[in-house]
């Protein structure tokens, strides 16, 4: 259990890092950044994620029509 907690914090330290631009820079508190959901929010606010995803979904739709 302790090991799990430590490894969880290590991962979050790497992922969160206190630099959550795009999520809300006010979230700088160490206890708050130690949430896996912060990574999810960061990805959701990243335009580099949405453009390829939207292009992919459009591509799949077009492909269905072509077929």
């Amino acid at each position: 259990m302790i090991g799990q907690t430590i490894s969880h914090y290590r991962i979050v330290e790497k992922l969160g890092g206190g630099h959550l631009t795009g999520v809300g820079d006010s979230v700088k508190n160490k206890s708050l950044k130690a949430r896996p959901s912060s990574l999810f929010s960061t990805i959701m606010c990243d335009i580099h994620f949405w453009i390829p995803l939207l292009v992919l979904l459009t591509g799949l739709f077009v492909l269905r029509e072509l077929h």
Partner: protein, 420 residues
């Protein structure tokens, strides 16, 4: 980064771009050996199966899976982008089949070759490429890409055998769609490499998206039972199709290193020289265009010269210090956004080993290498050549040229970056 190091990395990226062109173009050769009888979707699926095997065994052989594991732990969020890029590739590849069917290779190729122009746009918009580059470099890259686009169009017209009638609009949509999907695929590429991820790690997860999407598409379009019967019926061709995928992966790996060190605005057009290599294989080894008209040969020569000049212009327009510092800004932004260790990002940009990196090969790595080799040997044992009109001397010459590029580029990558 010292300017001498920057110049070395830029030259390495350009070399990787040219090697990528050779190997991506050469990948068409094994597929040309396979004659009709297998549906395009199944050809694509089998090729991707070969790609999957290569993408897991090559990184295991080069640096070991423990290295990949260590690397991914630095920026695990990038797995999402790697899988996303794989999905984009598979859908784009399937679209090209429809584009060729409906408008013919000549128009289709020109349409999806716009991917390099889109790559330049995304590179500029999102990753600070060509910022503070000066008008000469803008001219070199954009002019070079346009010249290559024109050359590719000429070559495609020359190498097209027939254009299908009807359904032209759908074919154009498919061709443009493939170009947009492939062009957008370079967003994940650049994001990963600016963040410090190693290309060997990226391709390992890229292929998961690739194989999953291709399997989904093949099952949806063909159905499980007919697909299985088709694969069993084509067992004598499996080796060539999967070997084509294997060769393609080596080219793609060089393309990834090119994207990493010279960016997508230069790396993508350079690796688009694959069309020249595909044409060389077609003309010299498979006797394509034999007995063609003078006009066709003029198109081939003109197109080849245009492509070569375009590639040369791009190769001579590598990034300078001010532009590179803008790349570093973009890298820093990514690092801050995802909390990636700064030294990891910097080490990757400088083509250095990150302190925490390990490259010990384990039993698992050797099992992967031996297993994949075994699969290819087994498939080769039952493989048959369905074409005999092949010029083996030219095949040997081109194969030696490709191997030379592999060795030269491989040694350069190892000495300069240790495959980082």
């Amino acid at each position: 980064m010292p300017s001498s190091r920057l110049r070395t990395l830029q030259a390495l990226g350009v070399l990787c771009g040219f090697a990528a062109g050779a190997w991506l173009g050469g990948a068409e050769a094994p597929i040309k050996i396979v004659s009709a009888g297998v549906s395009p979707i199944t050809v694509s699926l089998l090729m991707v199966a070969g790609v999957f095997l290569a993408r897991w065994s090559i990184p295991a052989f080069v640096r070991g899976t423990s290295y990949v594991h260590q690397d991914v732990r630095q920026a695990p969020h990038l797995i999402i982008w790697a899988v996303l890029a794989g999905c984009l590739w598979a859908v784009a590849n399937t679209m090209t089949i429809y584009a060729i069917r409906d408008v013919g290779l000549s128009i289709a190729f020109a349409l999806w070759n716009t991917n390099s122009l889109l790559g330049i746009l995304w590179g500029f918009l999102f990753f600070n490429e060509l910022r503070q580059a000066g008008w000469k470099r803008w001219l070199g890259v954009l002019g070079g890409a346009l010249a290559m686009f024109g050359g590719a169009t000429l070559l495609a017209f020359a190498s097209s055998t027939q254009a299908s009638e009807g359904k032209a609009t759908l074919g154009v949509i498919a061709g443009i769609g493939a170009g947009i999907l492939w062009g957008t695929m370079y967003i994940p590429y650049r994001k990963a490499y600016l963040s410090g991820m190693n290309p060997l790690s990226f391709i390992t997860f890229f292929t998961v998206g690739e194989l999953a999407t291709m399997t989904f598409l093949a099952l949806s379009y063909r159905g499980a039972i007919p697909l299985w019967h088709e694969i069993v019926g084509a067992r004598t061709m499996l080796f060539w199709l999967m070997f084509g995928g294997f060769v393609w992966v080596i080219g793609d790996l060089f393309q990834q290193y090119a994207a990493k060190y010279v960016g997508i605005s230069r790396g993508v057009p350079l690796s688009n020289t694959n069309q020249l290599w595909g044409l060389l294989w077609g003309i010299l080894v498979f006797h394509e265009l034999r007995g063609g008209s003078q006009r066709v040969y003029a198109q081939v020569i003109g197109g080849s010269i245009l492509m070569a000049l375009g590639a040369l212009a791009i190769a001579l327009s590598s990034a300078t210090g001010p532009e590179h510092s803008r790349w570093q800004d973009a890298a820093e932004r990514e690092g801050k956004r995802y909390g990636i260790e700064e030294s990891y990002v910097r080490a990757s940009m400088e083509g250095r080993e990150f302190d925490g990196g390990v490259s010990r090969r384990t039993v698992l790595d050797w099992l992967l290498v031996v297993g994949v080799t075994g699969i290819f040997v087994a498939l080769a044992a039952v493989a048959r050549l369905s074409r005999v009109d092949i010029d083996l001397r030219w095949a040997a010459v081109l194969s030696v040229a490709m191997l030379l590029l592999l060795v030269v580029c491989g040694i350069a990558l190892w000495r300069t970056t240790r495959f980082c």
